[in-house]
Symmetry: C2
Subunit: 350 residues, 2 copies
């Protein structure tokens, strides 16, 4: 489609838009007076052939400004040197960290990243995976909404690493939620909160359930009453939408599934002219870009997103120095948490 376009009359793109044929190993072979197979060896396995010959070939390649065609190389070898990353929603800043870490790790190993979006749909995620699989050496599912079955099925057909998701027999990079959650719950309790809520994310999100479970465990340990609200969309709007449930629940503090929901909830509270943290203390998860820009700055449980992306790619490439190791979490104390006031949002629900 691109190349078939007739040049528009008004645009002077004479040589532009018309692909110049790239030199191949045959061109080099002719120039260096060797067999193409020798060129291939010289270029892809340095040191394996006569040094003189190799030098001659390299010189010819340089002269022709030759670049290997990765597509042509991929066909016989099955190695594409690209990695597919599938995320639920690129719009979500949580992904930025993962994308960035994954891109850097991939680039550092000479790999290219292909990013695809599933739009929070398991079905679309499966389609995307199938579509991209033949072109990649492996897949990382950044925020899978797929069932365990399907994930195992994919893992049988291609190297696969999961982020924030645990499926028996499949590689994954997972956080150690306990330290961050302990610090958060302890922080709330020491502030005087007695009744708190977990605002959960998408029902299909494994990590949302895990976060809720860990909070439940720790809240019980520390003698706090916990109410679960949700599920909701992992977005600003999802957080805003939870406002009335939060009021009804009678809690004085909420830990949201992620920073986006936390921020959305804070803004809804502010829009109702109630103060944060006076009327409601709010804690998020992730520490995304901008979490410290909010008013008040958001207290949040940081999970190292960059590191997750980086490690997922490392696992995929077999550089699994840290295989099985959990990523640390920690509470980042800012200003969205405080002493519950007598007039907190949920007081009349008691």
């Amino acid at each position: 489609m691109i190349n078939k376009e007739e040049p528009k009359a008004e645009l002077p793109r004479t040589p532009s838009m018309r692909r110049r044929a790239a030199p191949t190993i045959y061109d080099i072979a002719r120039l260096a007076e060797v067999n193409p197979s020798t060129v291939s060896r010289a270029l892809s396995q340095p040191g394996r052939i006569n040094i003189k010959t190799e030098e001659r070939i390299r010189a010819a390649a340089k002269q022709l400004n030759y670049r290997v065609n990765p597509i042509a190389r991929a066909l016989p070898t099955g190695r594409t040197f690209t990695i597919g990353l599938i995320v639920a929603d690129i719009t979500n800043p949580v992904m930025f960290g993962i994308v960035r870490g994954a891109e850097h790790a991939a680039a550092a190993s000479g790999y290219t990243l292909i990013i695809t979006e599933s739009q929070e749909s398991g079905e679309r995620e499966a389609t995307a995976a199938e579509r991209v699989m033949p072109s990649v050496d492996g897949l990382v599912l950044g925020t899978s909404r797929l069932g365990d079955e399907k994930i195992r099925d994919l893992a049988e057909r291609t190297p696969l690493v999961l982020i924030n998701r645990d499926v028996e027999g499949v590689l994954s990079v997972l956080p150690d939620l306990r330290p961050g959650v302990e610090q958060a719950v302890h922080h709330l309790r020491s502030l005087g909160h007695q009744r708190i809520a977990y605002l959960s994310g998408p029902a299909t999100s494994w990590i949302s359930r895990r976060r809720g479970e860990m909070i439940a465990v720790v809240a019980a340990e520390q003698g706090l009453e916990l109410i679960e609200i949700g599920p909701g969309a992992p977005t600003l709007d999802g957080g805003r939408a939870a406002y009335s449930s939060v009021v009804q629940s009678g809690v004085s503090a909420v830990i949201a599934y992620n920073d986006l929901m936390a921020i959305g909830l804070m803004r809804e509270v502010a829009d109702r002219d109630a103060p944060v943290p006076g009327a409601l203390s709010v804690i998020g998860f992730d520490d995304i870009f901008g979490a410290d820009f909010t008013t008040p700055p958001l207290t949040t449980i940081r999970t190292p997103l960059d590191e997750a992306g980086r490690r997922a790619v490392a696992l995929l490439l077999g550089k699994n120095s840290a295989e099985g190791e959990l990523l640390p979490t920690e509470l980042v104390l800012r200003a969205s948490t405080g002493t519950p006031s007598a007039a907190h949002l949920g007081q009349h629900a008691n």
Copy 2:
């Protein structure tokens, strides 16, 4: 490297990690009892062959759960159905909008996006372009740091679209800076500012120069004195670093190259216990995610980033319905701008 790894003894990944051979058109041909070339036609050019035969072939393909191998298809056709997007820095939230828009537009046309980062280096950008070119049907340079020469050279070898950069004879998507800048400058003047600064971005950024030029033109028209500060890194730190120059300049308001610099500057001012906008009014460019989270929320000149990414891909794919049309800009009024106080940051420089 991935497939060669010996399965670790402790991991029960027997069939996992070992690629199951995918079915090919030869498998289908055998099953449907036709020639492979017929299979190819049936699948890639529906309606071109006998309907009965086509149905038989489709049934066989379905039964085998066949997916075309895009790499194998790309070799004879030269069409990869993927697009390369090169950005200076994925870390920069400005890119998020572009990436998102580009990804959506690409996906909508059945294309896959490859993202590469040049890390603000023209040299690395050139390398990335060369590396990725054989695998893509076209390139969009999101924030090119390349010289005009090199860009033209690339454009001669592959379909290419520029964002925020104008090079004769090369397709590009550009903003119409005037309305946004006019509104911003007028806004500052009506607030009582008389002496303002433009905090410029990277010296190699074409759009940074354009923004500065447009501000200069409009400031002159409206009778404001303009000082240029910079160049600086287009980051939070770049904004912070400009603090002392801003103080020295004696201005009461600054328009920064982008929101990141604007936010960085605001935070530096706040860290010095000076109020924004009292001590200094600050305006950014772009309206990135989080620009409305800041304290105070950032007044900024919005440029539609998603739309830029989307349109760049559309141009690349020849769906150039809006070719040559400029993207609109507008001032988003928030709270980082106000009346200059007598005690503004730059007062003693006068």
